[in-house]
Amino acid sequence: MSLEELAFLVLALVAVATALLALFVRELVHTILWIGVFFVDLSAIYFLIDAPFLGVLQLGVYAGAVTILLLFGIMVTRKRIFSREAITGIGALPAALAVATFVFLALVVGEFPGGEQAITSYNVTDLSQALFSQFGVYLLLLGLVMLGALAGAIYLVREGRE
């Protein structure tokens, strides 16, 4: 086992463990802390597969902005920040559905040939040039969605709405 494989194995285990912990821990603030670890861990995986720009983006947007936004959401909706959540327990049907999804997708993907392969890495300059010329439509669509979402969010939270 090479060093990269070991690193990926550890990072993948940490990702799954922190995702589960975030959903099962009782304190809502601890959930946010675990999900912060999850985002940082995913950015480490991005660095591992030679996508440094996405790694930095993940650190900035997810580990930075999204975590703080979620924390802000808890802060303004609670009288006491640290208060325990009544845990709903593990429903049998949702758990079965999740396991069934995992098994089904694993079986479907298992049909395709796997194996070891060298990772293709991309130049950030090439990526930005492609993003602004060849795939510029994606950015335009994202801008439109963001504009609509911004207007909707402001409409939802403005004062005096009946």
């Binding site: 996508a51 909706t77 049907l93 999740a98 999804t101 990772i119 492609a130 994606y138």
Partner: protein, 108 residues
């Protein structure tokens, strides 16, 4: 040159998706619901990046396209959290709680 096995990547992505589905179905708190959706979104971004790293395994797009879609998805997920929190604030103002089981006024 880094060499890695593809199966592990796909396995991680599927596992995160399963966790996300479980969270969406069981959690009643709106913020936990948002977090579950974020985990699923991250599984999708991860998948696009994996197939960008192994471009000859993906018949549908080349590597640069995969990374471009991943960048757009990160922006989309951030937008989704912003709208979700606006809904949290509106729900809290309206009902005094962010339990999604309470938000049932459209049911009647």
């Amino acid at each position: 040159m880094t060499t890695l096995s593809i199966d592990g990547f796909i396995g991680l992505s599927i596992a995160l998706l399963a966790i996300s589905i479980f969270g969406i179905l069981t959690r009643r708190n709106f913020i936990l619901l948002l977090i579950s959706v974020e985990i699923g979104m991250n599984a999708a971004i991860l998948n696009f990046l994996f197939f960008a790293a192994f471009p000859n395994r993906s018949p549908f797009f080349d590597g640069l396209q995969g990374q471009s879609i991943a960048i757009v998805l990160v922006g989309l997920a951030a937008t989704e959290v912003a709208v979700g929190l606006a809904i949290v604030l509106a729900l809290n103002r309206l009902k005094g709680t962010i339990n999604v089981a309470e938000a049932s006024s459209l049911r009647e």
